[in-house]
């Protein structure tokens, strides 16, 4: 099969970005929106075609999907084994990610033509969206660690630009900075991990690093540090980068604040694509995580995922800002994906966790993007983010109501919706490999259903709020992507049951999916229980929520304040690092280092003044210097050396 056209998938958004970026003064609304949508449509169609070709028209060898590299250039050559390449790698997960990224991005683009209408930065917004899509696609198809790192940073930059899109708003600027700094801090670990990996194994290439007989896994690297092998250290450091991007505890603090960005951005970047980059990274390096040192790094992944998942779900119970609830729910669901990877085995049915994680990544991208877009539609209508300002919106916004209900049922794991199927797999994987994590997962599933329906009932049912001006349904440019995503929150679940689909273990062999009836019953009853409680509490205004929160007292306050993690960071950075460490360093830097440097600078400058006279402008002086130079050289070389 010839896949060379896949190079166009990332390139088209890049060209759109250049076009809109360079001529953003000339291209006006709504032309720029159409250009963005057209570019993304082309990319999406190409991705679908690639997926079709890859999954159906490419023969498998020994029942295993082949890894294809249609495009690869040698970018920088250090040694014969250590070189940095740029290329495109197609394997089941990268093809799936191509579909996810282009689909959600297309939906966000279409939605934005309505949502951003009349904004001064309309063209700039679409330029940034295209830049983000390009970077994310480049990340997904990376053939080696260094390429993934480059695009990783580009994704970070475009996320920074989009969070701070409303740059007149101080809170948006602060949020953008926070996101950038926190993820940069995590990326430092990532870079160190990459360099360690490259140094000890002599390669950045995924194919070699993930080779079971390759230098990373087969144990040829014997150096160890603090009781763990350097490869494990490298993997954990790389996971640190992934945890930063994927907002895992304790590096999650940027995600809630990132909601300052326009809502389509939250849907695209902070729900569906960029934040799952960490999951994708672990999946990409899965054989290394699994085999090196018996999976030490994999255990770290599992527990970080489980803790984040629980932690975020508890906070989500207490928040009132609807986008923040969704942000914490994203963090919780990504925790799911991480823990599923963490408990997965390698081949055959053992690999169910890996499959569940990727599957959940796909369904989550769809329903969470749908939720965010609907939230955007509501915010657009009510001009507020807060739950208290809403209520009974079903009367004014029938379509948003339906979409939100479907997507919420999906995330709650209601039987028949796509979230039900993927979550079920995660529960099975956890049950078979780690009971403790399984109970956490089950608890989180119930909490998820509860807080999602708390949100749903408070927005669309609950009290009869009087609005200053009557909320009205959003335009079709916004509704169409929402409805599409609602459909995508149901349909993909069912395709799994069809006999011709199979899902993948980490060894890329297909495994047939089967529903475990016991697990499905347990999972869905927990979900339905959560929904029921939310129904009783919030369908009509009641005093139960106040009573419950009062009963939990300080625990509720803790959760509401997000466990004071932000305050802890502030304390550590400002009180300890800035005052105790930075201040003395700053003094030393200013007085001693700067003083020395300024001294050198001043001396250089005055010396330069001093010798200015040598350049006299008289040609006879020049000749003298010339001859003099020759004579001095002769004397030195012949007589003195």
């Amino acid at each position: 099969m010839n896949f060379s056209y896949t190079i166009l998938i990332p390139l088209i958004p890049f060209v759109v970005f250049l076009l809109l970026g360079l001529f953003y003064n000339r291209i006006k609304e709504p032309i720029s929106g159409w250009i963005g949508v057209a570019g993304l449509t082309a990319s999406a169609v190409l991705s679908y075609f690639t997926a079709y070709q890859y999954f159906y028209n490419t023969p498998k060898v020994d029942g295993v999907f082949q890894t294809i590299m249609p495009f690869k250039i040698n970018w920088m050559n250090f040694t014969d084994t250590l070189h940095i390449d740029m290329g495109i790698l197609l394997d089941p997960i990268s093809v799936m990610m191509l579909v996810v990224v282009t689909t959600v991005s297309l939906m966000a683009n279409i939605y934005s033509t309505g949502y951003m209408k009349g904004d001064r930065g309309f063209t700039r917004f679409f330029a940034f969206l295209s830049l983000f899509t390009f970077s994310m696609l480049g990340l997904v198809v990376a053939t080696n660690l260094f390429q993934i790192y480059i695009f990783w940073e580009l994704v970070g930059v475009s996320s920074f630009l989009l969070i701070g899109f409303y740059y007149e708003k101080p809170s948006a600027v602060a949020a953008a900075k926070k996101a950038f700094i926190v993820t940069r801090f995590a990326d430092f670990g990532f870079l160190v991990g990459i360099l360690l990996m490259g140094y000890y194994t002599g390669t950045f290439d995924f194919a070699i690093l993930n080779d079971v007989n390759g230098p990373a896994i087969n144990g040829t690297v014997v150096q160890s540090f603090m009781g763990m092998s350097v490869i494990t250290w490298a993997l954990i450091l790389m996971f640190m980068g992934g945890a930063g991007k994927s907002a895992m505890f304790p590096l999650h603090i940027w995600l809630p604040d990132a909601m300052e960005g326009p809502t389509p951005v939250s849907a695209l970047i902070h729900a569906a694509t960029m934040v799952v980059a960490g999951v994708y990274l672990v999946a990409r390096m899965f054989p290394a995580f699994h085999f090196v040192d018996g999976g030490t790094a994999q255990h770290v992944v599992a527990w970080v995922g489980a803790i984040s998942s629980l932690f975020a779900a508890i906070i989500a119970l207490t928040q009132y800002d609807i986008k923040r609830v969704l942000a914490f729910s994203t963090m919780s669901q990504i925790g799911y994906m991480m823990l599923a990877l963490g408990v997965s085995g390698y081949d055959g049915h053992e690999g169910v966790g890996y499959m569940a994680s990727m599957w959940h990544l796909f369904t989550h991208a769809m329903f969470k993007a749908g939720l965010f877009l609907t939230a955007g539609s509501v915010i657009h209508a009510v001009h507020s983010n807060l739950m208290q300002d809403m209520g009974s919106l079903r009367k004014y916004m029938p379509y948003s109501n339906i979409v939100f209900l479907i997507t919420a049922l999906s995330i709650a794991g209601f039987p028949g919706f796509s979230g039900f199927f993927s979550k079920d797999e995660i529960l099975i994987a956890a049950f078979e490999h780690n009971k403790a994590i399984f109970y956490i997962t089950l608890l989180v599933a119930g909490m998820t259903a509860f807080y999602m329906f708390r949100l749903y009932f408070s927005i669309f049912w609950g009290k009869d709020t009087h609005y200053h001006h009557t909320p009205h349904e959003s335009p079709w440019s916004m509704l169409a992507p929402m409805l599409f995503l609602a459909v995508m929150s149901i349909v993909p679940g069912w395709t799994q049951i069809l006999p011709f689909t199979e899902w993948l273990a980490p060894d890329k062999a297909g495994i047939h999916w089967h529903l475990d009836p016991v697990m499905a019953t347990i999972a869905s009853s927990v979900g339905i229980l959560g929904i029921l409680i939310a129904y009783i509490f919030y369908k009509k205004p009641t005093e139960y929520p106040a009573k419950i929160s009062a009963a939990f007292g300080s625990l509720y306050q803790w959760a509401f304040r997000k466990f004071y993690i932000d305050e802890v960071y502030t304390f550590i950075t400002q009180k300890i690092i800035f005052q105790r460490i930075s201040a003395p360093f700053a003094w030393f830097d200013k007085k001693v280092v700067d003083g020395t440097m300024e001294g050198i600078g001043n001396k250089t400058a005055s010396f330069s003044n001093l010798i200015k006279g040598i350049q006299s402008g008289k040609v006879q002086d020049y000749a003298f210097a010339f001859i003099g130079g020759v004579i001095v050289l002769v004397i030195i070389v012949i007589y003195m050396l």
Binding site: T604, I611, K612, Y622, F626, G629, L633, I638
Partner: protein, 465 residues
């Protein structure tokens, strides 16, 4: 030989064209010359011939051919950037002169880098210098230009005399003027060393290495900007190439001596160039000293004396050509539009002319060696070349110099981007040829910096040196 013949035919065509056109139509000569030279440049890339002519005094191979192509690209960019100036300033009757002299000088460069013996080398050297003197004084009404021309011819005469003197010594001890014979027959003797130093100083004059550099600033300042660019990149580039060839291949016997010379001259040149550049306000003088300092860096590659040195030097020369032409192009664009040539005038330029400021920024970053633009890799490779042979002190001194240079390379950047000015140069639209010229320079900077096969190709070619 194809390069030389084609260019010669081109000169003759221009001469004929000049005779048969009326005065008011002479302007079209600019476009004719530009078009023909563009074709010459492009066609140069397609065919390369290896071989030896005139009993060994002329030789060519793929590397030499490639280097001539680089020079062609440089000259093409200079021509593109000069179109506007030629249209405005030049007297129509003097238009053919400009191209004929420039192309003659270029033929001289071709001969110089293709030379197989000292005779051909000397002819090339003279042929490349003499037309330049006339070009420096091209605007005969300009007193500064005339002064510059006089300084150039006097200095050049001195340099060429001493250089020729040195060649006679080498002939006297080596018994031949052919490079290949000298390489085998020459032995170390004081007379041979004397010859080496005399010869070296002549070429060092062309590369403007300290202390043979004094003419540089005055001439650069007085000459028309297009010619200044030519002097600073083409003339210098060709001279570096032939110096490297002769030191590596003809005088390996004296390598102990010439490495010492190169070491000392490199350090002196870097310091002199950088320290003098700190205080310049006129952009042409400023770039003159910057180019002196850059030449000092190049010597770090030469001191390696092996293939790695050759490939790093050629790569750096390419980077230097594109970066310097970007900077000179902006200076020329601004000078053509407003007549201003001082750094103070650039204050606040970013607000009025963002594109030009960006080109200047990229070029200066490349000259300063800030990643990821090409200059960074160029300098980095040079360090590697010197460090590989154990010249750590030299590398250390070079790093100090890079630090100094960072300061003055950022001065215009600060003026353009960070300072506000009420009487900033107002917005103007650069002519289309100028834009193409600048675009080519910037494209060169990026391609060399980000596309590594170029370096691999040069590395492969440099085995032919």
């Amino acid at each position: 030989m194809r390069h030389e013949i084609v260019l010669l035919v081109l000169i003759l065509m221009l001469l004929v064209f000049e005779i048969f056109t009326k005065t008011e139509q002479k302007k079209s000569l600019i476009y004719l010359a530009l078009g023909l030279f563009a074709i010459h440049t492009i066609s140069g890339f397609f065919q390369s011939t290896d071989g030896v002519l005139f009993g060994g005094s002329y030789r060519t191979n793929e590397l030499i051919h490639f280097f001539k192509n680089i020079l062609n690209v440089g000259v093409l960019i200079i021509l593109l950037q000069s179109v506007d100036w030629l249209e405005k300033v030049a007297h129509y009757n003097k238009l053919p002169e400009f191209f004929i002299l420039l192309f003659s000088s270029l033929i001289g460069m071709y001969f110089m880098i293709s030379s197989g013996d000292f005779l051909m080398f000397y002819i090339g050297l003279e042929l490349s210098t003499l037309p330049l003197v006339a070009l420096v004084a091209y605007n005969s009404a300009d007193i500064k230009g005339n002064e510059a021309a006089i300084k150039l011819i006097l200095s050049a005469a001195l340099a060429s005399a001493i250089s020729l003197f040195g060649m006679t010594f080498i002939y006297a001890t080596g018994g031949s003027i052919f490079f290949e014979s000298i390489a085998t027959q020459l032995t170390v003797s004081p007379l041979a060393i004397l010859g080496l130093i005399f010869f070296f100083s002549g070429v060092a004059f062309k590369i403007s290495l300290a202390p043979f550099h004094f003419w540089t600033a005055d001439v650069y300042e007085g000459a028309p900007i297009g010619i200044t660019s030519y002097l600073s990149v083409i003339s210098k580039g060709a001279a570096i190439f032939i110096l490297m060839t002769i030191l590596f291949k003809v005088l390996p016997v004296l390598s102990v001596q010439w490495k010492d010379i190169v070491w000392g001259v490199a350090v002196l040149t870097m310091f002199v160039g950088n320290l003098f550049a700190l205080r310049q306000n006129n952009m042409k003088r400023y770039l003159a000293f910057s180019s002196i300092a850059q030449a000092g860096f190049i010597l770090m590659g030469i001191i390696n004396a092996e293939q790695l040195g050759a490939s790093t030097v050629i790569f750096f020369v390419m980077v230097y050509i594109f970066s310097n032409l970007g900077a000179f192009g902006v200076v020329q664009a601004i000078s053509n539009a407003t007549g201003k040539e001082n750094m103070d005038d650039y204050t606040g330029l970013y607000r009025t002319n963002p594109m030009l400021s960006l080109v200047m920024l990229l070029s200066l970053f490349s000259l300063a060696g800030i990643p990821p633009v090409a200059g960074f890799f160029g300098k980095f490779f040079l360090y590697t070349a010197a460090a590989q042979k154990g010249y750590y002190l030299l590398v250390f001194l070079a790093v100090i110099n890079v630090t100094i240079s960072l300061y003055y390379y950022l001065l215009p950047v600060r003026a353009m981007f960070l300072r506000k000015s009420d009487d900033a140069i107002p917005y103007f639209k650069s002519p289309v040829f100028m834009r193409i010229g600048l675009l080519l320079a910037i494209a060169g900077i990026f391609v060399l910096g980000l596309y590594s096969p170029v370096y691999n190709y040069i590395e492969e070619l440099s085995k032919l040196l």
